[in-house]
Amino acid sequence: MTRSRPSRLEPSASTTPVPLTFDAFYRAEYRRVVAIAQSLTGDRAVAEELAQEGFVAAHRRWGRVSGYDRPGDWVRRVVINRAISVHRRRDAERRALVRVGRRDDAVPAVPDEDAWLWDQVRSLPPRQAQAIALVYVEDLPLERVATILGCAETTVKTHLKRGRDTLAVRIREREAAEQVDDVPPSERPGVRT
């Protein structure tokens, strides 16, 4: 059985070779890769560990990966796949604990409202969550998101629409619940004094 893939992270023959050192690549991409990983894991330390793993994978194959049009997209795919893998996550969490234990810098807290929103994103089906993360954290065009996810652009649009629809429903439900909470008990419908 052959699985067709509409988009591939392959080198382009027409690309003008630009020497890219791994060092420069790491420095240029690291922050954004961590941000993507954090949106999908909800944990900064785990996100950093997953990003490290992604760059380790890239380093091991640098001869090939550096020839891709966008080596960073290769790393993103590795990281977002690992972020949704139970086993990979577990390993990363173990290593992240060790890393966190060795350092003393404080991790800034994500604002509560944002944290709730990302929780909701993570509760979406994995592909929807990945599409939303790539579009809204990185502001990537759909064409690149499709390449990273290994699917067609129309599929990305579908994932995004479904994800947004679900999120919109949950936000409305939450806001409705908060409005109820804000109303004094005596003024709530159905309550007689």
Binding site: Q52, N81, L167
Partner: protein, 385 residues
Amino acid sequence: MNLDDRLRSAGSRLGDQAPGPTAEGLEDVVRRAEASRRRRVAATSIAASVLAVALAFGLTRAAVDHRIDVAAEGGGRSVTTPGPSRPDLPPGTDPDTTTPGTHAACEIEDLRVRLAGLDRSTAIDRYACRDGWATTLARLGGGGWEISLFVEQNGTWAFVTDDPAAAIDTLPQGPAPVADLFVAMGVPLPTTPAPPAETAGPPTTEGTPAGGERPGVAGDDDPAAPAVTIVDGDPTTDPPPEAIGAAAGALIDAVDPVNRPTEVGDRIVVQDGFFLTRSTVRRFTDAERDALSRALTDRGLQVTFADPTLPDDDPASGLVLGSAALGSDPWSATGAPPPGGYVVRGELSYPDPDGDHFFGGQGSVVRLTPSPTGWLAEAQLAWIT
């Protein structure tokens, strides 16, 4: 604020708060990548050195190589016997000239030269030679003892390994009784040699022989340990598809439990397989694919036959993390199968249960060897990552 803006703002804040790269982080990446490379190189190097002497000695590659990775993984195993006292010799053994059998062209002096060249020891305390194989027990300068295995090669002794467990595990038990040599040297065997597969249990098409024990398995925590089973069949013809299925089942059973898919809905991807013979490479037949599917589904796994043309070890393929391309590892297509037998390689990989990024199972190998009672099916994972 609408949902789009809300998501964009939250995403922007997440990006702003993400830590930047550090020199330590970069060093960590490089160090881990290099360590990973070294592990692979070590495995390949050991495989190459042992194979080189074994092949020169007229042995087939497949007869010796399927446990070489165990030697590589077992780098922490002691290769010395504790000093300062000499290990006791078995009763009736001459402590100074233990020579069970003959050693044709090679002289013991050559062993001393070899050891000196390897800077391994200052003195050989004992040696034993038999059928072109030699073991030496040498006193180390810093105390303790070291046992080494050599093979006769073009009139000299070629160093094979100094890991007793690796020697016993990787080298053939029949024509070169390495274990016997070690016993003759009075060195406690670190592992019990695998019993002949024919006596391991009655024929079965399941992944493990009847009785539950898997002969030749060093331990359930050893991911590279092969599982062995005997499948009925005519060893003078192609192995029956059931043998493929049995071997695949054995492979599943041999997998490290940690990495073994166990959850409902787990899938296994079967890289559309190759049969290797001495001169030909062919794909699985439908019957063989069916047998593979049955063996895997019997174990609660879903089976997907993947496209073998996609690149290996690349998330861009989204299919297989492993050795999909022939010739990409020591188990390349040029490797000879066992006499009259077959090697099926790079076939099985394990997907993450909830994603399409795969782990484990690189260089998965199923080996089929004719035996007096049918086909001996062995399977193992060459590496677990």
